[in-house]
């Protein structure tokens, strides 16, 4: 590779990217989410999806689920960088360490009449989406599933009058009796 005149060694990396879902258990305190997000933006890591909520109120514990992409070396870095933050208890790579279940919830608004409306309803049924709001010219569907399933549903709704989508992002949990 021809180096430009630089004080740094400019290097191309060719390792393939992987997608991983990380579960991060943190102390629920002001600024903790900003720390996690700041780490990702500051070090140039990707965030594909992020969900946060308090999961154990008495202990002030929150669980952050992050879907990220990177080379295996970068993914390992992300986990180590998260783990060394003071309010982080535990980082579990749901993609690597165990079989896990991932779910997202989406609310999908579709507007249309006649044949489009009937088709939307039929597809919603096939995807086990529920109607949670309806007018004579619109539906709001609620759908849960993994990311692929939701993407697929949204793609199908597009020609049928898709208006907007609100998604929760991915939540993940390990299979079997053990906790994380």
């Amino acid at each position: 590779m021809n180096q430009p005149a630089s004080a740094y060694f400019i290097e191309e990396r060719h390792d393939p990217n992987e997608t991983h879902t990380l579960a991060v258990l943190v102390q629920n305190e002001p600024g903790v989410l900003a720390r996690v997000i700041g780490l990702f933006s500051g070090r140039g890591y990707n965030i594909e999806s992020l969900t946060v909520s308090e999961t154990e109120a008495q202990k002030h514990l929150s669980r952050i689920t992050i879907v990220t992409t990177g080379t295996p070396m970068v993914i390992a870095q992300i986990k180590n960088q998260l783990d060394r933050m003071i309010p982080v208890y535990q980082v579990v790579d749901m993609t690597q360490t165990r079989r896990s279940i991932e779910r997202e919830l989406a609310m999908v608004k579709v507007r249309g009449q006649g044949e489009h409306r009937v088709e939307a309803l039929r597809l919603a049924d096939a995807f086990r989406a529920r109607v949670i709001d309806a007018t004579t010219e619109s539906f709001v569907f609620e759908i849960t599933g993994n990311t692929d399933k939701i993407n697929q549903f949204i793609d199908l709704m597009r020609p049928l009058g898709l208006v907007e989508v609100s998604r929760t992002g991915v939540a993940a949990i390990g299979r079997g009796p053990e906790g994380m």
């Binding site: 630089s6 070396m73 180590n80």
Partner: protein, 591 residues
């Protein structure tokens, strides 16, 4: 209610801050007052256990605290006001984060009810400093303050040390609450740095070391941070194994420069023998260093044939830049102790005679060669003279950033840890002068010298006033080449010799400047006058600005050019006057 007023632990937030400093053994802090910290200054005024050093700019307080910390192994403490006081701390906090220096910064904040209102001198201090601290806190309740302060000291000094910041709104400083002395439960349960290395990994490491044919030890600042025991064990390991040892800029002094196994510093401006040994070794033991890009050169050509062992207390340092074979997470001293124990019990000194013969050949290249002159002082010569004149004395060296810093690292021999304070990771011009102030506060009777550049020293020159006020006899030894030499060097080598804005235009008269501050100014031009002037500088018991006029166009070699590997160093004989002249004439990049 009445017995509550007799509770000695009932006090204002401001009083708690001073009390916590005392409880953590802090005797000196560096700071600058302002509206949002006046209650704390009022408390400082009314006691005598903690001495406050008034700097002239908050950046100076931060670097002084860093110098204090690095030279003592204790945390440095800075106190600044809200808004501009806090933003002026961003550089030293980042500097301390990059170099793992324990720093506790206490900043004032506008009263809690005004936070978010763009109040006078309000800024989002915890937001701004979040990425440049190991951790930070905004304290909204006076009853949380003691806990947070104790945790702050613990976080700054434990594990991989680093800077922390506690932001205290003014109403919290005024409010009365309950203080408690430090206790274990003050610390997040989620924070538990690992100190002891994994036994199986240690065995693997020893097996590699015991069978090495071409080993090298590559040590870093982590060894110094770990404390005197780590330094002792490192030296013992070198003795027991007979291995060659090199170190990063941050690690100088852990192994003595006069030691027979010493290869000199490695990396971009390291010695030929250090870099070649790294490149050709078969087993590398990295202790408390982080494979920084100034060390590795081109990563895909970095020490291609070696098995690498990496000891680090921070798991995120492992496999960040360079993939290693045997990572050991733990404190350097602790892990070195275990390695030594296993090695002594189960292995014997490997025969590496032919490796040492190879190293002798590399050494014979004399990569730090420079041509002395009787007309003009060569900067390398100036450092050597300074080294000779201060040898055997109780001396501490700080530096600014640039060529002079690299020459100091190359030509000043450090025999002990904690004697060398330099801004490595961030490369902060303006670090050295305030750092010298901090070092001198910690070691009032020692000789403290800032090896400076003419450009860098102007970035924090105002701290001369601090030195004069507190009678701190720091010596600012300026290698004055009238250039931002390191910038010019890169422009010569990489940017067709277009010297864009790297000439130090309109330099002040440093002698007069010293006098204006009430310090002593000295100037030398001639090599023959150098030694005498250095003696004079040392014997003066006041702060000195020493204007050492050196060869203007000298460049710093050896050097690993950009995009090159360790075995592709540019040696001084290949980068002599003619080669540089050619670069001048042709305007051609050497890469």
């Amino acid at each position: 209610m009445s017995d509550k007023s007799h509770n000695p632990n009932q006090m204002t937030g401001a009083a708690m801050i001073v009390r916590a400093l005392i409880d953590h053994g802090v005797t000196d802090i560096f700071g600058y007052p302002g509206g949002a910290v006046l209650p704390i200054y009022d408390e400082i005024f009314q006691q005598s256990e903690v001495q406050h050093i008034l700097v002239r700019h908050e950046q100076g307080a931060g670097h002084a605290a860093e110098g204090y910390a690095r030279s003592t192994g204790k945390p440095g403490v800075a106190l600044v006001t809200s808004g501009p006081g806090a933003t002026n701390m961003v550089t030293p906090l980042t500097d301390a984060l990059m170099d793992s220096i324990p720093l506790v910064c206490i900043s004032g904040q506008v009263p809690t009810h005004l936070i978010g209102n763009d109040a006078f001198q309000e800024c989002d201090t915890v937001g701004i400093t979040r990425p440049c601290t190991k951790h930070n806190w905004l304290v909204r309740d006076v009853n949380d303050l003691a806990k947070v302060l104790h945790e702050a000291f613990y976080v700054a000094t434990s594990g991989r040390p680093g800077p922390v910041l506690v932001d205290v709104p003014k109403d919290v400083q005024f409010a009365t609450g309950t203080y408690h002395p430090p206790r274990k439960s003050d610390v997040h349960r989620s924070y538990a740095p690992r100190v002891k290395g994994d036994a199986a990994q240690i065995r693997k490491a020893v097996a590699l070391l015991a069978n090495a044919k071409r080993p090298v030890i590559y040590s870093g600042g982590g060894v110094i941070n770990s404390g005197p025991e780590a330094t002792r064990l490192l030296r013992e390991l070198v003795e027991v194994t007979g291995f060659p040892i090199t170190s990063t800029l941050m690690g100088l002094g852990a192994y003595p420069a006069s030691g027979k196994n010493w290869l000199g510093m490695l990396g971009m401006h390291g010695t030929y023998e250090a870099n070649m040994t790294m490149h050709d070794c078969d087993v590398m033991l990295c202790v408390g260093a982080r494979f920084d890009d100034r060390i590795t050169g081109r990563v895909d050509a970095f020490s291609p044939g070696s098995k690498k062992i990496h000891i680090d207390i921070d798991p995120s340092s492992i496999n960040k830049n360079i993939r290693v074979d045997v990572p050991i997470i733990g404190d350097c001293g602790n892990v070195l102790g275990d390695i030594l124990q296993v090695f002594k019990a189960e292995a014997k000194k490997p025969d590496i005679k032919s490796w040492w013969q190879q190293i002798a050949q590399w050494r014979a290249r004399n990569s730090l060669y420079y041509k002395k002159s009787s007309d003009v002082i060569l900067p390398q010569h100036a450092i050597q003279s300074l080294f000779e004149a201060t040898r055997g004395r109780d001396t501490y060296i700080t530096t600014e950033v640039g060529q002079h810093q690299m020459w100091a690292a190359q030509f000043y021999g450090f025999e002990e840890p904690h004697r060398w304070m330099t801004s490595g990771g961030l490369g902060t011009m303006g670090y050295g002068l305030p750092a010298a102030v901090g070092v001198q506060v910690a070691h009032p009777d020692s000789l403290v010298i800032d090896i400076a550049g003419d450009a860098s020293v102007q970035m924090t020159m105002q701290e001369m006033s601090t030195a004069v006020q507190y009678e701190l006899p720091i010596k600012i030894f300026i290698l004055n080449n009238q250039y931002m030499g390191m910038v010019r060097q890169w422009q010569q080598l990489l940017h067709g010799n277009r010297l864009s804005h790297s000439y130090s235009e309109a330099l002040p008269d440093f002698v007069k400047l010293a006098e204006a501050y009430g310090a002593v100014g000295l100037q030398v031009h001639k090599p023959g006058d150098l030694d005498g002037a250095i003696q004079e500088m040392i014997s003066v018991k006041r702060p000195v600005l020493f204007d050492c006029r050196v060869a203007a166009l000298e460049n710093c070699f050896p050097m690993i050019p950009s995009g090159k590997a360790h075995n592709e160093m540019l040696l001084p004989e290949q980068a002599n006057d003619e080669a540089t002249a050619k670069a001048f004439a042709g305007g051609k990049a050497l890469v």
